[in-house]
C-alpha cells in the first residue's frame, strides 16, 4: 500500500486547493452577482429570498445600449483615458528621468502635494476656469483634469524605474557620439519599457474609473462611463436591473484589460513600491 505519506500529500494538496478556491470566492462573488442582477427583471431584483435560479433576460443589456447611447460613453472614456495617459507619458517620462538623475526632490514635492490634495477641492476652481475658457463638455477640459491623477502617478512610478537604471549605458552611448537627448530616447526609454507599460496601464485604469470630475465637467457629448451608471437612478425609481447591466458593461472592459496585463501591473507596482 503506498501509504501514509503519499496519501497525506494528496490530501494536503486537496486541502490546499480547497482553501485556494475558498479564497477566490470573495473577489469573484461580487462580479457574479453584478452580472446576475443585470440578467434579472426589476421585480426579481427586489425579491427575497433572492433567486439564484431564474430565467435570465437580456432586456437590460439591450436597453443600456439602445436607450443610453452606451457606445458613445465607452468612446468618451476611451478617448479621455487614452489622451490623459498619452500626455502624462510624454510629459512625465522626461520629468521623472530628470528627478531621478539630478535628484530633484523638490519637484517631487509638488507631485506629492498633488496626490495628497482631496480631489473635491479642485472642482469649483476648475469649473469656473473652464467656464471662462468655454471648455465645458470638451475632451480638453476632461483630459486636463484627469492629468491630476495620471501625471503624478506616471512620474512617481517612473522615478523608481529610472533610479534602478545603470548610468553606464547612457554614458557609453554618449561616448559613442549621441547627444543626451538621443541617448534618452534610444537607450533609456527602451530600458524602462516595463515601467512605462505599468504606469500607462495604471494611468489608464484610474482615469477610466474616475467619477467625480467627469460628473461635474462633462456634458452629453463627453459623458464618460462611470457617470453613465447613474443614468439608472432617477426620480421615483432605481433601476437595479439596469444598474446591474450597466455596471457589468462598465466593469468588464477594464477588468478584462487588467487581466491581460496583470503581470505587468504587479511587477510594476512591486518595483515601484520597493524602490521607494
Amino acid at each position: 500500500m503506498i501509504t501514509g505519506i503519499g496519501m497525506t500529500k494528496t490530501f494536503k494538496s486537496i486541502l490546499f486547493h480547497a482553501g485556494a478556491i475558498a479564497l477566490c470566492v470573495p473577489p469573484v462573488f461580487v462580479f457574479v452577482w453584478m452580472i446576475l442582477t443585470g440578467l434579472k427583471t426589476g421585480v426579481q431584483n427586489i425579491t427575497y429570498p433572492p433567486e439564484f435560479i431564474f430565467t435570465p433576460t437580456l432586456e437590460n443589456f439591450r436597453a443600456v445600449f439602445q436607450q443610453y447611447n452606451f457606445f458613445r460613453y465607452l468612446m468618451n472614456s476611451l478617448i479621455v483615458a487614452g489622451l490623459a495617459t498619452g500626455i502624462s507619458l510624454v510629459l512625465g517620462l522626461p520629468a521623472a528621468y530628470s528627478i531621478a538623475k539630478y535628484r530633484q526632490g523638490k519637484i517631487g514635492i509638488i507631485i506629492l502635494v498633488a496626490r495628497m490634495t482631496p480631489f473635491v477641492s479642485y472642482l469649483l476652481p476648475w469649473y469656473i476656469i473652464f467656464r471662462h475658457l468655454k471648455l465645458i463638455d470638451t475632451y480638453t477640459a476632461l483630459t486636463l483634469t484627469h492629468l491630476i491623477i495620471t501625471l503624478p502617478m506616471v512620474i512617481w512610478l517612473m522615478v523608481s524605474f529610472f533610479e534602478g537604471m545603470p548610468e553606464e549605458l547612457e554614458d557609453a552611448a554618449m561616448i559613442d557620439g549621441c547627444s543626451r537627448l538621443q541617448s534618452f530616447l534610444i537607450i533609456v526609454i527602451p530600458l524602462v519599457r516595463n515601467g512605462i507599460a505599468t504606469s500607462a496601464i495604471m494611468s489608464f485604469i484610474f482615469s477610466w474609473n474616475q467619477f467625480l470630475f467627469s460628473l461635474i465637467l462633462s456634458g452629453p457629448k463627453t459623458k464618460t462611463v462611470p457617470v453613465a451608471v447613474y443614468n439608472f437612478i432617477s426620480y421615483g425609481k432605481i433601476d437595479w436591473a439596469g444598474i446591474g447591466a450597466a455596471a457589468t458593461l462598465i466593469v468588464l472592459p477594464v477588468s478584462v484589460f487588467a487581466f491581460f496585463v496583470r503581470r505587468t501591473i504587479v511587477q510594476g507596482l512591486t518595483m515601484g513600491a520597493l524602490k521607494d
Binding site: 460628473l215 461635474i216 421615483g236
Partner: protein, 434 residues
Amino acid sequence: MKRRMICVVLVALLCLGMISATAFAGVDWKQLQGTEIRFLMNKHPFTTYIEPKVPEFEKMTGIKVTIEAFPEDQYRNKRTIELNAGGKVDGYMIMPGQDDLHYWKAGWLQPLDAYIADPTLTEADWNIKDFFTSFTKASSVDGRQIGIVINAETSLLSYRKDLFKTFKVKVPETMKELEQVAKSFYGKEVEGKKMVGITLRGKGAAATSQWVDFLYSFGGSWTDAQGKSNLASPKTIAAFKFYGDLLRNYGPQGGTMLHWAESTSMFMEGKAAMIYDANVFKALYENPKESKVAGKVGYATIPAGPAGRIPHVSNWSLSIGKTSTPERQKAAWLFIQWATNKNNCLGALLAGVPSGRASSWNSKEYKSKDDHPDWTANTMKSFEMGQPQWNPPVLNVPEIRDITGQVIVDAIEGKDVTASAKKAAELMDKKMER
C-alpha cells in the same frame, strides 16, 4: 358722395379685417427659428415623458433644444454650479419650495410674467388660470411668476387594500389609528413573508419631505411668529417622536437609511402593509414589471393629527435662466409653454405624472381611463388642503433640512428627541440665512 362713402367703408372694413387678422393671428411659433437653447432637467418621469416629443417642438418652431438630464442629487449640484459659473443654462427644472429663495436672490430666475402677458408669445388658450392657484403661487417669489408647474406633488398613504380586506382593517383616519394598524400588521406572516406595518423615509434630510406632513398635522411649524426656529416646540417634538417611534417600532430594519428607493422597494416587494410617500409613485406601484403589489394598492390622505390632516404640496416647475440672452429666453419660454400646454399636461397625467392643470384632471379622457379614482380623489383633496411651505423659509434650505434630518434620525433610533430638537433649534437659529 356715395362713392366716397363706399371707399371709407371699404377702407374701414379693410382696416378692421387687418386688425382682426393680427388679433387672431396668435403666436408665431417660428418667430425664433434657428435659436439654440439648453435645458437642464432632473431625471424625472416628466422628463421621460417630454424628451421623446422634443422633435415635435423643434419641427414646429425651428428651435434646437438640448436637454441634459441627471439623477436628482447630482442634478441639484450641477445646476447650482453651472448657474453660478455663468454656464449656458437657458431653462431648468426647479422645485420652488426648495430652491426658489436662494435662486431668486442669486439672480438666476427670469420672471415669466412679461411673457405670459404678451399675446405674441403666449396663446390665449394656454391660460395660466387653468393651473391650480396653490401651485402657481408656490412657483412665484415676491409676486413674480418664476416657474410653471409640471409635476404637482403631495404625499399619500398608500396601503394594501387586499390585506386590509382580508384582515378586516379600516383605513386609519387618525394618527392613533395609524399606529394601531401599523402595529397590527407588524410581524404578521403573509404569503410567506414577515410584514412590517409601515415604511417611511428615514434618511435624514431626505426624510424631512415626508416628515413635514406630520409636523403640520401635529400643529408644529418650521419657525415661530418671531421667525426663530420652532424645532424645539412641544408640538414639533411630538411630530418627531411620533414619526420616529412609528418607523422604529413598526417599520423595516435600518430605518435611518431608508430613502424613497428602499422604502418603495419594500412596499412593492409586498413586505409593508402601508407606505407614506409621494403620490407620483403610483406609476411605480401599479407597474407589474416593477411591483408585486400592482392592483392591490389603495390610496388615502394622511390621517388626522391633533391639528388636522395637513399634507404638504410641492411641485417641480420649469424656469428660465436669467443669465441667458433675451432671444434665448423667449425661445425657452416657447418651449416651456409648449411643454405645459393642455395637450402635454394631459398626456403626462395619463403617463402617471400628476399634472398642475385642473383641465387635465377634469378631462373626459382622463376620467374614463382612471382606474384609481381613490388616488385621484385623494390627490385632489391634498392639493386643496395642502401646505406649500414644505421647506424651512430660509435661503439655505439644504443645510437646515440637514439639521432637521439629524433629529429625525435620532427619533428613529430612539434617542432623546427633546435634547436633539433643542440642539437642532439652536443650530438652525445660528445658521439660517434669509
